[in-house]
């Protein structure tokens, strides 16, 4: 066993884990944060995307021990109480999901895109940047609309952005 200490959604966590525990397993099974999903388990679909030190990563392709001393944010950590994060609100408003399986990864990726590329995003940029997130329901059309709207929404919610 190896000791791992990290901050998850603002809370300090320390645990002894088998070193082969994936970050996504640690989040889901140790911390019961089941919003982060395992889709393909082969680094392709992006359902498992979380933020590691502020950057979007695939938590199925990261060991929990590699996240030692890091800050992790999951889909559970972005709303303010019952108030949705602007990106979550935009996905609801624009019907950016059907079955919802890919949605946590989509939203964590979308927030990362805004952090890197700013609040005004054209369709081409959004589609290119969502390369690592697969959705088998929507055909992406409403996801792209939601990300563009969510990006604008994040500009109007500076406090929330700072918290993220």
């Amino acid at each position: 066993m190896t000791t791992v200490s990290l901050t998850v959604n603002g809370q300090s966590v320390t645990a002894d884990v088998d070193p082969r525990t994936l970050l996504v397993q640690f989040l889901r099974e140790n911390l019961r944060l089941t919003g982060t999903h395992v889709g393909c388990d082969t680094s392709q679909c992006g359902a498992c995307v979380v933020h590691l030190n502020g950057q979007a990563v695939k938590s199925c392709t990261t060991l929990a021990v590699q996240a030692n001393a890091s800050v992790v944010t999951t889909i559970e950590g972005i709303s303010q109480g019952s108030e949705l994060h602007p990106m979550q609100a935009a996905f609801r408003e624009h019907h950016g999901l059907q079955c919802g399986y890919c949605t946590p990864g989509m939203i964590m990726s979308a927030i990362d895109i805004v952090n890197r590329k700013g609040n005004t995003l054209d369709e081409q940029t959004i589609r290119a940047e969502l390369e690592g997130n697969l959705c088998r329901c929507t055909g992406y059309h409403n996801i792209v609309k939601a990300v563009a709207a969510g990006a604008q929404g994040m500009a109007q919610a500076p406090l929330q952005q700072a918290a993220e």
């Binding site: 082969t42 680094s43 979007a56 695939k58 990261t62 060991l63 990726s109 690592g132």
Partner: protein, 268 residues
């Protein structure tokens, strides 16, 4: 995934010592090839040595006509580096074409080069930019480093610390992606240096990354797309699979090389 002992050294020396003492080791860089391989139980090292906490493996430095990149620098860091963009914009653009944004946030230059996947992008950049692979033991010229698919000059326990690229006068990388995997079906990196042009091809060759001497000779005299007219690469050394047969790959090498030269010339 098979069980392993995990080690987290904080210096190259400590990592090398661990590698010398432990049996059946693998170094873990970004983990975006090794971890999937371990999940499939195609690799099962007894000891995993994580290079992620070693500060001396990081950093990007320009010195005269070379730019030196720490082995643990991530693809996104190379793609966004002001030094790299200024010195070798083609290298920054190449890094931006690897995988997807999440992969680029974890995958590293050292990991990619040590792995030498036949469809990886960095090996082509190394060959075309006449790179020197610097390890904890020696400096290896790029032409001696890549020795066939998943095979390099690295000895057991040897650690890449830095990669040093020659700044070319003109360069570009073009990649024809497999539409599903997004790996290079054919990727061509061209670079014009003071002592001549270099052309390196990834994805296409059955023996991994390779240079094309005929194209280099033609481009050294006249660095223009039309200089490549009539030059073909041999089909019998191309990969041949359900995604693209050898004849198609050989044809694509010519097309992508011309496009790369065109892009390099357009950039000026």
């Amino acid at each position: 995934m098979y069980a392993f002992e995990y080690h987290r050294p904080t210096s190259v020396k400590e990592a090398a010592n661990l590698a010398g003492q432990a049996e059946d080791i693998k170094f873990l860089a970004g983990g975006h090839t090794l971890l999937p391989t371990m999940k499939l139980r195609l690799a099962g090292p007894a000891n995993l040595i994580d290079l992620g906490q070693i500060a001396e493996l990081r950093g990007i430095e320009r010195s005269g006509d070379t730019i030196t990149i720490g082995a643990m620098m991530k693809h996104a860091e190379v793609a966004n580096s002001a030094e790299v963009k200024e010195a070798i914009p083609a290298l920054a653009e190449m890094a931006e074409l690897i995988g997807d944004p999440h992969v680029r946030n974890r995958g590293t230059i050292g990991g990619s080069i040590a792995n030498n996947d036949p469809s990886a992008d960095y090996p082509a950049a190394c060959l075309a930019l006449n790179a020197t692979i610097i390890t904890n033991q020696r400096k290896i010229a790029t032409d001696d480093f890549f020795q066939g698919i998943f095979t390099t000059a690295l000895e057991e326990g040897e650690i890449i610390t830095q990669v040093s690229f020659k700044v070319p006068s003109q360069a570009a990388y073009t990649k024809f992606r497999n539409p599903a995997s997004r790996y290079a079906l054919v990727g061509v990196f061209v670079a014009q240096h003071a002592d001549g042009a270099r052309v390196a091809v990834t994805g296409a060759g059955s023996n991994g990354v390779f240079r094309v001497p005929e194209m280099e000779q033609a481009l050294s005299g006249n660095f223009a797309p039309e200089a490549l007219d009539g030059i073909a690469v041999a089909e019998d050394e191309m990969n041949n699979d359900i995604h693209a047969d050898a004849a198609y790959r050989a044809h694509l090498v010519g097309v992508m090389a011309r496009r790369a030269v065109q892009a390099a010339v357009a950039r000026g």
